[in-house]
């Protein structure tokens, strides 16, 4: 390991009076005073949010507008502070997404509990929940800060992925039923 010898020679007269250092310091702060300011005027100017920013967790839809969450409740299970509460619901027969079996009847995330850890996003088998760029959360009551399904979808929007996993599964089943060769 390289050794750096620190100069420990005793202070000379001027250094003992503190004056050179004091004047040097004053010069530095004066220079700083004349420099342009770095303040962001927050509510008017907004910071640019980097990609992969972990803001509020949100639910997303696929490009066809289908809600991707199948209420498997893995996220609810993994969430460290238990911020998520899911009420699963069946999808009735005759629904256009009948083949998906399940979707959440309600999906609550308590933003006062959430610690923005991203575990829900990581665990989700359907890529249905994402921490996105909403970072400023406020409200007048605790209830207001429990975000329900509608709000979560509103914040989440649509993700442009093209998996269509459930549709492909349905097609495959239909084909199998119709002709039976793979």
């Amino acid at each position: 390991m390289a050794v750096k010898v620190v100069d420990r020679s005793p202070l000379n007269f001027w250094e003992k009076t503190y004056m050179p250092q004091v004047l040097g310091g004053l010069k530095i702060t004066l220079d700083n005073m004349l420099r342009p300011k770095v303040t962001l005027q927050y509510p008017e100017e907004r910071p640019t949010i980097p990609d992969n920013y972990r803001g509020v967790p949100t639910l997303v839809r696929d490009p066809n507008g289908r809600e991707k969450c199948v209420s498997c409740q893995l996220c609810e299970f993994v969430c460290p502070p238990k911020a998520i509460r899911i009420t699963p619901g069946e999808i009735e027969d005759g629904d256009e997404h009948e083949h998906v079996e399940k979707r959440p009847k309600d999906f609550e995330i308590n933003m006062l509990r959430c610690i923005y850890c991203g575990m829900c996003q990581e665990v989700c088998p359907e890529e249905a929940i994402f921490l996105q760029d909403t970072y400023s959360v406020s409200g007048y009551s605790r209830e207001e800060l429990v975000y329900h399904k509608a709000k979560l979808y509103e914040l989440g929007g649509t993700l442009p992925d093209q998996h269509y996993k459930w549709d492909r599964k349905k097609d495959a089943e239909e084909k199998a039923a119709a002709g039976g060769h793979h």
């Binding site: 004091v22 702060t29 700083n32 005073m33 300011k37 770095v38």
Partner: protein
């Protein structure tokens, strides 16, 4: 006779009110200035949002004033006034309430003898001052050091250990630096009462008058520096803010204080600062003298005010004086946001081992110099002294 006496008293009261208002306004706005300077030094903008409903709507100027934070002191004051003002159960109530007042009153009292400008009474130049007493500087030294009682009593009455430490430190620091401060201004008064001086005495007006040829700070830099350093210590400003030192003592002497009482301490500190700067300006920077003449330039360079119409000259002299004072207020802040706090033992070492002996040497040296000067140049010209 009685009429003129009544008029005299009424005028004095009016002047006193004006003084208080000006000093308090300056103190309030130095709080703003402090925040602004701190922000600038740290690359920030500082308070720039507080708006007054009517005034901020004025085109161009209105938004600009808001940006400069002009209304911020108002908002601060209102906040201090209307916040809940609890008295903790464990304090000594009488002294707890008394302390903030004691901190503020001496700072405001000293301004009684503070000349702020000059006017012409006939042909004679007179100071604009509430009481032109002959013991000016003694009065200021005596009263301004009373301010420390506010801090000591506040720290003691709070009945908890950190404020107590703050109070103790404050008194130790005051004793150490008061000495150096008192001695550092002796050369000034030796000079003001020495060769070529007018009336003599300890009044601050004479000091200003005696600086027409040369600002004392120029040829007495070391006393000036010692005085300035002690001033920082006496006003508890960084790098000497031992009584507060947030890093060790929570908030120091005012830890247990809130809302309006804290506000009094706060304004007291700034009033002290403003008045300290004013005293420094008077003692070492020629007061309201325009520029030094160095003994060769014509007199109007030092005193253009008495050549102007009386009202204009006196107003300008006051404004010029306030300008000089504000520069030192700025220096206070600039230093505060530059230097780290001294350690307690360093404060004591600096005070006792450097400033006090330094001031002593200066007294002796300047006494000899001024004495020689006196013998060489002046005695023959002023037979009055010989008689």
């Amino acid at each position: 006779m009685t009429d003129s006496l009544v008029l005299d008293i009424v005028l004095k009261v009016v002047f006193a009110l004006i003084f208080v208002v000006v000093i308090m306004t300056l103190a309030a706005y130095s709080v703003l200035a402090e925040r602004k300077v701190a922000s600038w030094i740290q690359g920030r903008v500082g308070p720039n949002r507080t708006a007054l409903p009517g005034l901020s709507a004025i085109p161009v100027i209105g938004p600009h004033l808001v940006k400069m934070g002009m209304w911020q002191p108002l908002a601060d004051g209102v906040k201090f006034l209307f916040k809940e003002d609890p008295i903790p159960g464990h304090v000594n109530k009488l002294y707890y309430v008394l302390a903030p007042c004691i901190a503020l009153v001496p700072a405001l009292t000293t301004m009684v003898v503070l000349p702020v400008g000059q006017y012409l009474d006939g042909d004679i130049v007179k100071p604009i001052v509430l009481a032109n007493v002959d013991i000016g500087i003694l009065f200021i030294l005596a009263f301004s050091s009373l301010g420390v009682y506010g801090i000591v009593i506040g720290g003691w009455a709070a009945n908890s250990k950190y404020p107590y430490f703050g109070g103790i430190r404050s008194s130790a620091q005051m004793i150490s630096y008061e000495l150096a401060m008192g001695m550092s201004i002796l050369p000034v008064f030796i000079w003001a009462n020495g060769p070529g001086a007018g009336i003599g005495g300890l009044s601050l007006f004479n000091v200003v008058e005696s600086q027409q040829a040369m600002w004392l700070g120029v040829w007495m830099p070391i006393p000036a520096f010692i005085f300035l350093t002690s001033l920082y210590a006496e006003t508890n400003r960084l790098p000497f803010d031992m009584p507060e030192s947030e890093t060790e003592l929570v908030g120091g002497f005012h830890t247990e204080y809130g809302s309006f009482k804290f506000g009094l301490f706060f304004v007291g500190e700034y009033a002290h600062m403003v008045i300290g700067s004013a005293v420094f300006t008077i003692l070492f920077l020629g007061g309201w003298n325009f520029l030094p003449t160095f003994g060769v330039l014509p007199d109007w360079v030092a005193d253009p005010w008495s050549l102007m119409p009386n009202w204009l000259g006196s107003t300008l002299s006051v404004i010029y004086f306030i300008g000089k004072t504000l520069f030192f207020v700025f220096l206070f802040m600039w230093v505060r946001w530059t230097l780290p706090r001294f350690r307690y033992d360093q404060v004591m070492t600096l005070g006792w081992k450097y400033l006090v002996p330094g001031a002593l040497i200066c007294v002796v040296a300047y006494a000899i110099i001024i004495g020689l000067w006196d013998i060489a140049f002046t005695i023959e010209e002023t037979p009055a002294i010989v008689e």
